[in-house]
């Protein structure tokens, strides 16, 4: 293998303060606004020569972009947009770009809490891991073995998580604690291709592969007791985190619409530094069709995580012999970190309607925001931040700074620091499962080599990412979670 790429031209970086760096607007690059990277000295150092900065600059060239092209502290090299990128476009004269959402539309995170403490499940970790691994199809091309009829699939894409709850796969309170209530409005299955239907028909309720996972965790530290109480998190309590998205259906939606956007951008005379940034003016037929298809795929993803969440409850019931209701396996929150949304924000004191693209970035609305579930409104929207399978993850809540600086957004995880190839090379000869076992973490994976690709050294230190996000005023950390069981696709 050749080594990774590098910047085509050096990117100028100016430090704004301890947690922000500016990529000044460069007219030669066609930048319409600055780029802003949220990082401290530790996180910015490896980024200086990383193509992610070039991607931040490229996003700044898109028509209608407002404020700045933003990079969250977990930013890393992606395609088109960087992973960890946020861009807000004016609804009246901006664009929507499928590359600013990504192929895995509404990839996101769901967190369940429980009334269990770690000591109660430690003797049962092995059978619990087996039960989770058996109950939730994972791995490349995972399928349920049950194929949804076209009409049912269309209903899933319209109703999202509600479709699953109506069929007994979950509780009505789950919907109250899901972003958009798990049902994005404006979804149109008519804008979904036959091929996308085919790819999605038997993948509902599957985890997939790569960085998708289910973790059983324990709350090992509470950082803000009042918010932790509101979220039902206590030291020693067992939680379950699920990370997955819209599977082949979402991937195909992005693929299909990129092609039409490629043509639309050329027709609109939009000059792009990267064809993966293909876009269409908001309000155009191509943009409307994409947003309707994106909403449909997002709803598929919410139904997917709803089904997986319910399968987790069933696995706990089978292994522990107690119904999920009595185990207190309630949803804390379910969020998307790959989506575009039409939102109202204030820019220079004026209200403005924007299309906010978050690719590998989490919405982080502060206390009092009407879109935060009523029961959490006093503390802010939960922000779920997976770390890596050997260290920890975080639960935070949105802070007022996010509305001022990032259109209500924050980091979505630790962010990769090594390619899969480099991680495998680094860990050659290392038994990752055994290492994790020595830490008391039980692992189940479809492929053993995936564990090396996804091991801790492949990721940035999530503690550093959370610290920068908090110090920049985007979030308030609430609790730290340590893994007990890791299930990988």
């Amino acid at each position: 293998m050749l080594e990774p790429g590098r910047l085509s031209r050096p990117i100028r970086l100016e430090q704004i303060d301890a947690y922000r760096w500016r990529i000044p607007r460069d007219e030669h690059r066609g930048m319409r606004v600055d780029g802003i990277v949220f990082a401290d000295e530790r996180l910015i150092a490896p980024l200086r020569t990383d193509p992610a900065l070039e991607q931040v600059a490229n996003v700044a060239t898109l028509p209608g972009i407002v404020g700045a092209s933003l990079a969250m502290p977990d930013v890393h090299w992606g395609y088109g947009f960087p992973v960890g990128g946020v861009a807000a476009m004016r609804a009246d004269r901006g664009v929507v770009s499928p590359g600013g959402i990504g192929f895995d539309i509404n990839c996101g995170v769901r967190l369940l809490r429980s009334g269990l403490v770690a000591a109660e499940i430690r003797p049962r970790l092995e059978p619990l891991a087996d039960a989770l691994f058996a109950a939730i199809p994972s791995g490349v091309g995972a399928r349920t073995g049950q194929r949804l009829a076209l009409r049912d699939l269309d209903e899933v894409m319209c109703k999202g998580a509600r479709w699953a709850v109506e069929r007994g796969f979950g509780w009505s309170s789950d919907l109250d604690r899901t972003e958009e209530r798990g049902e994005m409005v404006g979804a149109s299955p008519a804008d979904i291709s036959h091929r996308a239907h085919e790819r999605g028909a038997d993948q509902l309720g599957t985890l997939g592969s790569g960085n998708h996972f289910i973790e059983v965790q324990v709350v090992d530290r509470v950082l803000e007791p009042s918010a932790a109480m509101a979220l039902g998190l206590d030291v020693g309590a067992v939680t379950v985190m699920i990370h997955c998205g819209s599977r082949g259906l979402g991937h195909q939606v992005c693929t299909d619409h990129l092609t039409s956007m490629d043509t639309a951008a050329a027709r609109a005379g939009i000059v792009l530094p990267d064809r993966q940034l293909a876009c269409a003016p908001l309000g155009s037929p191509e943009a409307n069709a994409y947003l309707a298809a994106m909403a449909a795929a997002a709803n598929f993803a919410w139904a997917n995580r709803q089904l997986i969440g319910q399968a987790v409850r069933a696995a706990f019931r089978r292994v522990l012999g107690t119904p999920a209701e009595r185990l207190g396996l309630e949803l804390v929150y379910d969020l998307s970190h790959n989506v575009a949304k039409i939102e109202q924000h204030h820019v220079a004191g004026q209200p403005i309607v924007l299309c906010v693209h978050r690719k590998g970035a989490t919405r982080a609305f502060p206390p009092g925001h009407p879109d935060v579930p009523a029961e959490y409104r006093a503390v802010g929207q939960p922000v779920l931040i997976p770390g890596d399978m050997g260290r920890c993850s975080y639960v935070a809540v949105g802070a007022p700074g996010a509305m001022e600086l990032t259109f209500g957004s924050s980091c979505h995880g630790a962010g990769r620091s090594l390619s899969r190839h480099a991680a495998v090379r680094l860990l050659r000869g290392v038994d990752v499962a055994r290492q994790l076992g020595a830490q008391g973490i039980v692992v189940r994976a479809e492929r053993r080599d995936l564990l090396a690709e996804e091991a801790s050294p492949a990721y940035k230190d999530v503690e550093a990412v959370v610290e920068v996000s908090a110090n920049a005023g985007l979030i308030r950390p609430v609790a730290r979670l340590r893994p007990l069981i890791v299930v990988k696709g």
Partner: protein
Amino acid sequence: MTTSPPTRRRPRRPVPPRLADVRPPDSRGHELVPHTADVGLLARAGDLAGLFEEAAAAFSELTADLTEDVPSGDRATESVTLCAHDLISLAFNWLNELVTVSELRRSAVTGARVECVDVAAEGAGTRLVATIDLVPFDGAAARRHTSVKSATFYRLSVRQFESGWQMTAYLDV
């Protein structure tokens, strides 16, 4: 011309080549290229048909572990005809065809035979006719490896050199 006094410098780490700087050798071949989140591929061949076959071979290497001998009864094929307005889009469509066929047929792509790649006059479109070779994942001959969500347009290039053609592409995994 002036010379600077010698200074003590840390030895420079070798700078990896950029894909675009790599002059394609005369021989056919392919390589996988690391990317922080995803995976790149580099293919080269003397003609366009060979280039698209090499891209399929790279895809196969990334997505499947194959045994040396595949029983003939396990083999299957899928015939495809693709059109696009330019070569870049044709490469995008070709790689995504491999992704989708592999997923829907639950089969490893073991290679492809490209009958023709027609490049019409500038702007008039391109066309590819090919047969994709497959082996089912549920048998002993093929194990799933890396999952590919989609090919991307990011740094996607199809370039002609004196000695042949070169494709670079990044896949979302």
